[in-house]
């Protein structure tokens, strides 16, 4: 990377840009990295004399992974197979925020082959972890502009992905655990009415339903899981004396094993992995809202609410959405399908655009 003068200029963006204090414009304005930059570097538990990110050439990268099924649509039905592979990638956070998500600056670490989901992501990340250790100590690199060698440090303070990838990264359980959230200690509640068969999922309401004197749990949002919590849970799992003991702890914490990321001296298990905005809001929440408004959400009726939009109106909304394609420049969004007949083909991008710019007009009444 330090062989291309253009790239060096781009990498220096982070050092040169000045942000007003209090504004959040990039990952570097987040608490995780700014706290990290105040700390001294550690190698094998021994503090060194320089801080993280002290040199201009220090690079911060973020790790991401996700499962993808290779056969989709008709092909999957024809071949009757499901082949799931798991690409691992890193992005460079030093680049300007508009650039670092572009395709040519994403570096692939490899693809974990299928056909099934891997059980233990950490063992696949082990080579990357070893490289991270080298990155802390510094790798001898040639600098094209300064014409000299320098130690290149790189750090991985962030990881991100959708819910499943985050669960894999942290080795926690998902919605089948009693504490389904990996960011706070909220306790989920099971659907005990027995109407639906899939009653194993835990849900997380802010207000506990069906109790007299309902109470809002604003407190749960402040009872966050911290790095120390995770370390303590890993320690307890590792030091369990017998299998029965281990199982007891597992049932309580629902953590399968220690995560490899906690071995990095700077990685904050509690804060460094954000929930996936795209999957949570643009896909899952949108899908839930639209199916709710259509009255098709898991066979629920509106109860005492008045939120179901009648079919004739949905037809009109769908046609208006389709019609709007003529008037939206292609740079804004891909072409939108008819939301009434073709909702399955709505991608995250289309849903987000529909929600932000079209909904206020078509749902006005």
């Amino acid at each position: 990377m330090y062989k291309d003068p253009k790239m060096i200029k781009l990498l220096l963006y982070q050092v040169q840009c000045e942000v007003e204090p209090g504004d959040i414009e990039d990952v570097f304005d987040g608490k995780v990295i700014s706290n990290m930059m105040k700390k001294y570097l550690e190698i094998d538990g021994v503090p060194q004399e320089y801080k993280y990110g002290k040199l201009d050439t220090d690079i911060f990268i973020a790790f991401t992974c996700n499962g993808v099924s290779i056969h989709k649509g008709l092909r999957a039905q024809q071949s009757k197979t499901q082949y799931l592979c798991f690409p691992l990638e890193v992005i460079i956070l030093n680049l300007p925020p508009m650039v670092h998500t572009q395709n040519q600056y994403i570096f692939s670490l490899g693809v974990i082959p299928g056909p099934h989901k891997q059980k233990h992501l950490d063992s696949f990340c082990w080579p990357f972890y070893l490289e991270c250790r080298c990155g802390i100590q510094g790798i001898r690199t040639y600098h094209m502009i300064m014409c000299s060698f320098f130690p290149l440090h790189f750090f991985v303070p962030h990881g991100f992905g959708n819910l499943i990838a985050v669960i894999k990264m942290k080795s926690t359980c998902g919605v089948s655990a009693k504490k389904p959230c990996h960011q706070c200690h909220v306790e989920g509640i099971r659907d005990k009415t027995g109407i639906r068969q899939k009653a194993r999922t835990y849900y997380v309401p802010l207000t506990v339903p069906g109790e007299t004197g309902n109470w809002h749990e604003k407190g749960i949002l402040h009872n966050l899981r911290t790095h120390e919590d995770y370390l303590w849970m890993y320690y307890r799992l590792d030091t369990a004396k017998s299998e029965a003991d281990w199982k007891k702890i597992w049932q309580e914490t629902r953590i399968n094993q220690a995560s490899i990321w906690s071995l990095l001296p700077y990685f904050d298990m509690g804060q460094a992995i954000p929930g996936g905005y795209m999957h949570a809001v643009c896909i899952n929440l949108m899908r839930a809202l639209v199916t709710l408004w259509r009255g098709e959400f898991k066979g629920l009726d509106a109860g005492s609410g008045m939120y179901i939009i009648p079919l004739e109106m949905w037809e009109a909304i769908g046609e208006e959405t389709l019609d709007s394609n003529h008037w939206i420049p292609a740079a804004f969004v891909r072409s939108l399908p008819n939301i009434f007949t073709d909702f399955a083909n709505f991608t995250a991008e289309a849903s987000a655009f529909w929600m932000m710019y079209i909904t206020p007009h078509v749902l006005r009444g």
């Binding site: 414009e25 925020p97 949002l221 206020p360």
Partner: protein, 91 residues
Amino acid sequence: MLDLVEIMKTCTKFGITHKEHAQLSEDVYEWCLAYEEYYSQYKPEQLCTMMVALHELDHLPDDILNCGPPTALWEFVTERSMGEVVWSVTS
């Protein structure tokens, strides 16, 4: 219910000021409470409307504070490169 539009617009901005962030946390909390009132109606039968995705929305302001705006770390990146992997598979 359409306050979500404002929430999403703030989230997709490249820079979020401190004031906007404070407004966002308030909006998110109120929106979630409103969602609960409309759809779950505090009834056990309607509990399945309270998905974990909604709970992730609760944590969104904290995530922004910790990791910067969602535009910097979001999964569109992963999805796009996954598309490349899928396209490159031929027999």
